[in-house]
């Protein structure tokens, strides 16, 4: 019983702390992004959403990247978000419809730093993004590149090396500077644990594949480091 009470208290504290971290962000952020884990997990919520969920942003992004991106927000979703609301029929195939794509607001340096600070406090639960999900072996990057382009077909929806790839998923050309390695590994393992109806398939990959893909993505956008 005592354990249960402690668990409830812990959960409440976690909820309140993420809620108060969310409160530090400009209220306009929550107009498009979920800053607290949504209780509505229906497909309808996905259909009416205007921007990606950010309730786990502190476990997803690198802070330096956030600070610079918020001051110069180049599109991460090349076809808009969600893509199925921002495309139109083209001559040969569907194309992005710029008239339906709303650019992300640009922040000044001080606001970007404050927003990045608040976003970094929005941590995912430890079982969602386990520390050490990426084991750190960068030697798998070359095989990861092959998996990305050929064997697992990630390139069908994501732009990777040299900006080549599909448009319905977020671009990954600078994944290494933008995303935390443990997040990449955890997200590839099961995207629907983060976002119940997201249009990225769960491919039942073996851990070796996940490690290699993560190594490949971690070095994307980081030059020859």
């Amino acid at each position: 019983m005592k354990g249960l009470l402690l668990a409830v208290a812990g959960l409440t504290a976690a909820f309140l702390s993420s809620a108060s971290a969310a409160d530090k962000l400009d209220p306009s952020c929550s107009g498009c992004h979920a800053l607290v884990k949504p209780t509505d997990t229906s497909l309808d919520r996905l259909l009416t959403r205007k921007g990606p969920d950010l309730w786990f942003a502190g476990s997803e992004f690198n802070k330096d990247w956030l600070v610079s991106w918020l001051q110069d927000p180049k599109p991460i979703h090349p076809a808009g978000y969600p893509y199925f609301k921002t495309i139109k029929k083209g001559e040969k195939n569907d194309v992005p419809d710029p008239s339906k794509i709303t650019p992300h607001p640009k922040l000044n340096k001080a606001d970007a730093e404050a927003a990045a600070e608040a976003l970094m406090n929005l941590k995912a639960p430890a079982d969602l993004v386990p520390a050490g999900a990426f084991k750190g072996d960068m030697k798998g990057a070359r095989m990861g590149a092959l998996a990305f382009v050929k064997f697992r077909g990630c390139v069908a929806c994501h732009q990777g090396e040299n900006g080549q790839g599909g448009l319905s998923g977020p671009e990954l050309t600078d994944a290494g500077t933008r995303l935390q390695p443990d997040f990449i590994a955890a997200y590839i393992t099961d995207p629907q644990r983060f976002d119940p109806h997201i249009w990225m398939p769960t491919s039942n990959l073996k851990d070796l594949d996940i490690q290699r893909l993560t190594a490949f993505l971690v070095q994307l956008g980081q030059g020859d480091k």
Partner: protein
């Protein structure tokens, strides 16, 4: 009494019609979220990702080619991905994302789109 029965029956018919069209609408929405990225708004394999695909996605409006695939094969392709039916790895596995009912609905919807098969 007779009037009441007629009214009740009419209400039931309306209710059934509404729920059927809602189900169809939501299967179309499911197609619109997951399938359109490659198979396209025209459902003919011309989605937004097509320029980067090494294998052209299936044209769901092609009665001949779609007619050659059984419901079982379509179900397997959606659930387990292209490799499971000797097709491209670029068709991913949706079995973890979609419910059995949604996949069943999609197969039925594909038959409407191709105007073919069972």
């Amino acid at each position: 009494m007779k009037m009441q029965m007629v009214a009740a029956f009419a209400g039931l018919v309306l209710l059934l019609t509404a729920s059927t069209s809602h189900a169809e609408q939501s299967i179309e929405q499911v197609y619109g979220v997951y399938c359109v990225q490659c198979h396209g708004l025209n459902r003919n394999g011309t989605g937004i990702n097509v320029p980067s695909l090494s294998v052209k996605p299936r044209d769901h409006t092609d009665a001949k080619s779609m007619g050659d695939s059984s419901d079982e094969e379509l179900t397997k392709a959606i659930t387990e991905g292209g490799l499971a039916v000797n097709k491209s790895v670029l068709m991913p596995t949706w079995g973890h994302v979609l419910s059995e009912e949604q996949i069943k609905g999609l197969v039925k919807y594909l038959r409407q789109v191709c105007k073919c098969g069972t």
